[in-house]
């Protein structure tokens, strides 16, 4: 079965989630991966969106972090202050799933500005929930498309702390959680080196070469001694993902009917 690099990336990310994880889900690629996991090997995965929906089981991917589909399928919906106080800061989340515009060799994420803050080259959306997601979930998974502009030696702006300047810098900021333990891209899977915390390639997707990853990474990227090959998507995974995407495209293109109530 043929598949795209984005499909490979989404499938590889989905596989990292366990059935009993409680996952704080970012919109876009993280949401696709989390819902794919729920629709395949992790049916009991708990998805939490920062809009307050706990245990959402959307039939189509939400466009926003607060589509009605999330609330309608959730176990319960709490206020946003409660979400950030009792659930995220309360230490109830096992995995935070983030994307961003830039990630650096120590897993720090920038979603604020490219260029200087006061005279930005590109003004990005900003932190949203990501700053505290990054420090308060047990561990962080990152999903991003590989490019030298995205994978940089040092982010222009640390929106979300990863491993800081490496080593135990995260601890020096008073943060006790694991931080980024996994980065999934359209080319490979990376994990932080146990000592230095530098992101290191541990698995190449099918058909991807070391040279391609080196070319697309903004720092002299290291590879694990025992470099693995990511198993390609199975037919089950691809079918589930494509059906989800097709349902989603149909739902979002439709100018939706107002369902009245009056």
């Amino acid at each position: 079965m043929e598949y795209s690099a984005t499909e490979m990336m989404t499938v590889a990310a989905a596989r990292a989630l366990k059935d009993d994880d409680v996952c704080f889900v970012g919109i876009g690629l993280p949401s696709a991966a989390c819902n794919l996991a729920r629709l395949t090997h992790a049916p009991n995965l708990t998805l939490i969106y920062e809009s307050g929906t706990i245990g959402a089981r959307p039939d189509v991917l939400p466009l926003s972090i607060g589509d009605g589909e999330l609330c309608a399928t959730a176990l319960t919906t709490v206020s946003v202050p409660e979400m950030f106080r009792y659930w995220l800061q309360g230490g109830r989340i096992s995995v935070g799933f983030l994307g961003g515009a830039q990630v650096d060799r120590f897993g720090n994420i920038n979603s604020t500005v490219i260029g200087p803050y006061d005279r930005p080259k590109v003004r990005l959306p900003g932190a949203g929930g990501a700053t505290e997601i990054a420090t308060q979930c047990e561990q962080i998974f990152i999903i991003m498309r590989h490019s030298p502009r995205a994978f940089v030696p040092r982010v222009d702006f640390i929106t979300s702390l990863g491993h800081g300047t490496g080593g135990d810098d995260r601890r020096r900021h008073g943060v006790g959680t694991l931080g980024p333990t996994l980065v999934v891209t359209d080319l490979c899977v990376m994990r932080p080196d146990p000592e230095t915390k530098e992101l290191t390639v541990v698995s190449l997707h099918e058909g991807v070469t070391r040279e391609q990853v080196i070319e697309q990474t903004g720092w002299p990227v290291r590879f694990a001694a025992e470099l693995e090959r990511t198993p390609p998507p199975t037919a089950t995974e691809l079918d589930a993902l494509r059906e989800l995407q097709a349902r989603t495209a149909r739902a979002h293109a439709r100018p939706e009917a107002r369902d009245g109530g009056r």
């Binding site: 609330c71 959306p125 700053t131 939706e256």
Partner: protein
């Protein structure tokens, strides 16, 4: 005593040039109709507060209503940038826009502190982020029991909070249901509050004793504005117009297209909520 007013009257009476205004609704129940009325009335120099500026503030910023934005995530959800927000920040068009930038956790805590009558909120956050370098309203205190360093931000206390809700009864009690965001906090934190509702009814039809209800004595004015949250949505009434959110990217990318859309759908269309119209562009 809560006043039942037309949207035009309510915006004219409650919102003044230079005010700090929080129009809240986390993806759901965004008070778009009220934002459009603010634009039609040509309000200026507003400090706009909102966790997720969304299209509503993109429109108000693009029409020159704001001089400052306090926010934590400024994008078109799932689509991309807010082009009018970026144009104001990057090129000062139509007027320069100052930013006070936070994380969601900080804003949510700051609203809760405002509702709680506290001067500040404390939380565990902002460790290792550069946001502390660019926002002097992020400070730190020490826990007097453990010595732990905790982040502190000032409470949000807007002059006016504007929200949209499902319905009000004739006494002025308001029901909010579904994704409730920070709307209750915004209203309780503000000096004045305007609630637009889908309908005003005899029986509020509260689904449970623990439903999110704002008593009438917490609200300054209520305006009945069916469809007032479009293109966002009202749980139980209509769904989110995701196609319009996607289309907005094309409308807002260019100053002239944007102005033409605003003229046709907002400036020259007083008092009629945009909800009934076909998706623009």
């Amino acid at each position: 005593m809560v006043a039942f007013l037309s949207l035009r009257e309510a915006v004219a009476e409650l919102i003044h040039d230079g005010d700090t205004v929080a129009m809240e609704g986390f993806t759901h129940l965004i008070p778009f109709a009220a934002g459009h009325e603010v634009i039609r009335q040509g309000k200026r120099d507003l400090t706009l507060v909102r966790m997720t500026p969304d299209l509503i503030y993109d429109q108000m910023i693009g029409m020159g209503c704001a001089r400052k934005l306090v926010f934590s995530w400024g994008g078109n959800p799932g689509v991309g940038s807010l082009h009018r927000l970026r144009d104001a920040v990057e090129r000062g068009w139509p007027v320069p826009l100052a930013l006070e930038e936070h994380s969601h956790a900080a804003m949510a805590n700051a609203y809760a502190a405002g509702a709680s009558g506290l001067p500040c909120a404390i939380f565990r956050g902002y460790q290792g982020t550069d946001l502390t370098q660019v926002n002097p309203n992020i400070r730190f205190i020490e826990c007097p029991f453990t010595g732990e360093r905790l982040a502190a931000v000032p409470a949000i206390r807007p002059d006016v909070a504007v929200i949209h809700a499902q319905r009000a009864d004739r006494q002025g009690n308001v029901l909010i249901e579904g994704i409730v965001g920070v709307q209750k906090e915004a209203v309780l934190a503000a000096r004045r509050s305007l609630v637009t509702v889908e309908e005003i009814v005899d029986d509020l039809r509260v689904p449970s004793p623990n439903a999110v209800v704002l008593p009438h004595w917490t609200i300054t004015a209520i305006a009945e504005v069916p469809g007032g949250a479009w293109p966002s949505y009202a749980h139980g009434y209509y769904t989110r117009d995701n196609a319009f959110y996607t289309a907005w990217d094309g409308i807002a990318r260019d100053r002239d297209t944007f102005l033409a859309w605003m003229r046709e759908h907002v400036l020259d269309a007083p008092h009629r909520p945009a909800v009934a119209r076909p998706v623009g562009a």
